[in-house]
């Protein structure tokens, strides 16, 4: 089955349920994202099975949560938390979201601000910041790297059906830095495609051909980014992990092992 077929069948909720559904605490589904404006920043929601779920708010590039795209459905992989509703939605935390590739013009809802929905915890306003990123993390302790150097692993996780994205830049820079400082001779790149188990029991799988694409792309970026003279061992997983509906997003991954 090719990727397009899987996508289409998933979006139409026409696929056969092939497995036990995820635990009741999980909410994994594909649906339109919804923007709800507020007096400060907008919040992002999505509706599934008659219920509204809160995904996150608009902040900036320092956030772990990357909001979805109107015009596209979104794959939501989240855990129901016991927090009070935010913006009218049941809070999913943690939550991973993946914009789907295909357009869907129905996904075009921007709800106006209402007094009853507020996000007083917003770390930055909708316009200019107060001089800091929303999630300013303390700078890492300076690392002294001394021989003998140990092999070190780095992981990249992907949106569903996607290759490299801007958010991976930091990890790639860490790989480059460590490989350069240690004079590593070998870079092992192992990539996999993944599958996720939706709350309705649907098994939603990426095209298996994504694994070699991910591995080759990462290797090429590292080579052109400054590691062209290193030996690359590139591997793509030929099988997908069986999803259980919990943290399935971790199966969409590239592992980079820097071996001095």
């Amino acid at each position: 089955m090719n990727r397009r077929t899987i996508m289409t069948s998933t979006l139409l909720i026409a696929a056969t349920a092939t497995a036990e559904p995820p635990p009741a605490s999980q909410r994994n589904f594909v649906s339109c994202p919804i923007v709800r404006d507020t007096a400060t920043v907008p919040c992002w929601l999505s509706e599934y099975d008659g219920e509204l779920y809160y995904l996150g708010i608009q902040t900036d590039v320092s956030a772990d949560f990357d909001p979805p795209f109107l015009g596209h459905n979104v794959l939501v992989e989240g855990t129901i938390s016991d927090q009070e509703r935010i913006c009218g939605g049941i809070v999913l935390d943690p939550v991973r979201i993946s914009p789907m590739l295909d357009f869907d013009s129905r996904c075009n809802t921007i709800l106006p601000a209402e007094d009853r929905y507020t996000v007083p915890f917003a770390p930055r306003p909708p316009g200019p910041s107060g001089g800091r990123l929303a999630f300013q993390r303390p700078p890492p302790e300076p690392e002294v790297i001394v021989p003998p150097y140990a092999a070190r692993e780095f992981e990249l996780f992907y949106d569903f059906d996607m290759l490299i994205m801007g958010r991976h830049a930091g990890t790639l820079a860490q790989v480059l830095d460590y490989a350069t400082k240690t004079g590593a001779r070998t870079i092992e790149v192992t990539a996999s495609s993944g599958a996720t188990l939706l709350s309705d029991g649907t098994h939603m799988a990426e095209d298996i051909s994504l694994a070699p694409k991910r591995a080759n792309e990462v290797a090429r970026l590292l080579q052109t980014g400054g590691l062209a003279d290193r030996r690359f061992e590139i591997e793509a997983e030929s099988e997908q992990e069986s999803p259980d509906g919990v943290d399935d997003w971790r199966s969409r991954r590239t592992l980079i092992r820097v071996a001095p």
Binding site: V35, L101, G127, R132, L176, L221
Partner: protein, 524 residues
Amino acid sequence: MPSSAVTRDLADRWPIVAAGVVALCIVSSAGAQHSAANRWWSEGSGHLLPGRVAYPNDYGELGIVNASGNYDTAGNAFFEPIGTNGRACVTCHQPADAMSISTQTIQQRWQETNGHDPLFAAIDGRNCPHLPSGDPQAHSLLLERGLIRVFLPWPPRDAAGKEITPEFTIEVVRDPSGCNTHPKYGLESDEPTVSVYRRPRMVANLKFVTAADFGVTPFSIKDSRPTDRDPETGRLVNMNMMADAREPTLKTQAISAALEHLQTDGPPSEAQLAEIIDFESQIYAAQLRHVGAGDLDEPGGPQALGPQALVDGSTGVLGNNTTRYVFPMGDAWKSLPRTGDADSDTEREFRESVARGHDVFFFRTFWIRDAMHINNIGLGNPIKRTCSTCHGMHMTGMDVANGWVDVGTTNLPWASTVLQDPWSDREPELPLFRLTCSGSHAPHPFLGRTIFTQDPGRALITGKCNDIGAIVMQQFRGMAARAPYFVNGSAKNLRELIDFYDRRFNIRYSEQEKIDLENFLSTL
């Protein structure tokens, strides 16, 4: 209008340079008349460019500051016709036009030389080299929009000259210049070439444009592609210099510009390149005096205004915050008591409008939607933000790093174009390409697999579907001196620029907001 006291004060600090001493550089006082000939800096003139000099424009006067002091241009390769077509760098980067060139100047030059100035060289000052010499129609894109032909190999090549396999195919839908379908110059020629038409960028304030001390990381935060490096030093560069970011340094840019636009027989010598870079690295330009706001450089005035502010300004600062600001204006013009003097009060009223215009730029939120390399970099689509979200670099309003974005200036459906109909003889001026993204790659998240564009922008360099129509932002300085705007000259004036954004993002500015924003932009 400024008071006479303001004018005198300005003239004291920006002394009038006698035409006989520096033939082409004129410092005005209010109301002074300047002939078009005096504004034009000819190739190889050998004149001195004063350390501080002002040039009149429709909004007042542009100020040029040479941080090195009076600059002897004699023999400097920026000013000398080092190629075979009589042009120099200064031909398209005129001091009077904020080191770019306006259509007003281009049209004057056409009239004064009957189209024989080197500016109108066939290679790129004509819509296509095969078109007839001396015919204004053959130069219409330069005369009407201020556009120079940029011709790029297709498929693109990487830094090592190796062919890149693009993610999309490119077809010519319409070709008013005939260049993209020409057997010698076009896509089907022996050396397949894409011709696009772009405005010459400002060659001033370059310490900001080339600063790599903020947000420049080994892999771009926009798409994790490796950031370009200086081929000589290996240092990361910010890729903000050219519309498509194809040249990493002032030096490589000078070489390619000399070969292509000046038609040199080979690369300039190291000494010539050093001269060009030396000049480019020390010149600053910004509006100095405004017909409405008066002296922009006066002590105690807004910190952002005037060219000296750029000389003194810090690089590598993200100004999209309330601690540093993109254009720090302070409160000096926020609320000005009236004096009862009509001229003075008119100026004060205008200054308050400028201050409000700044706040429209900085604080007025709207939904930014479907803008590639903004909405897809972790911010979501749409985001409720402001102009300064994207135009965040302190003092220039560029991006701090990797500033290519598709806001729709060249991509349909947003790009300005002529809707053909049987009741009008208006014809499209720019080429139109259909780019079809391969099924083996993810489609463009906002435009899909088939994209119509007047200029594929960054995609002509990377071959990436997501880069189609992505154009590096330009700085906001000296705008009063260098209309038209946008990479393809599609906004003839500041109001058209504002109207474009108003339509594109459904901002629904009030008329007063538009007036205030134009007033603000015209003081930069």
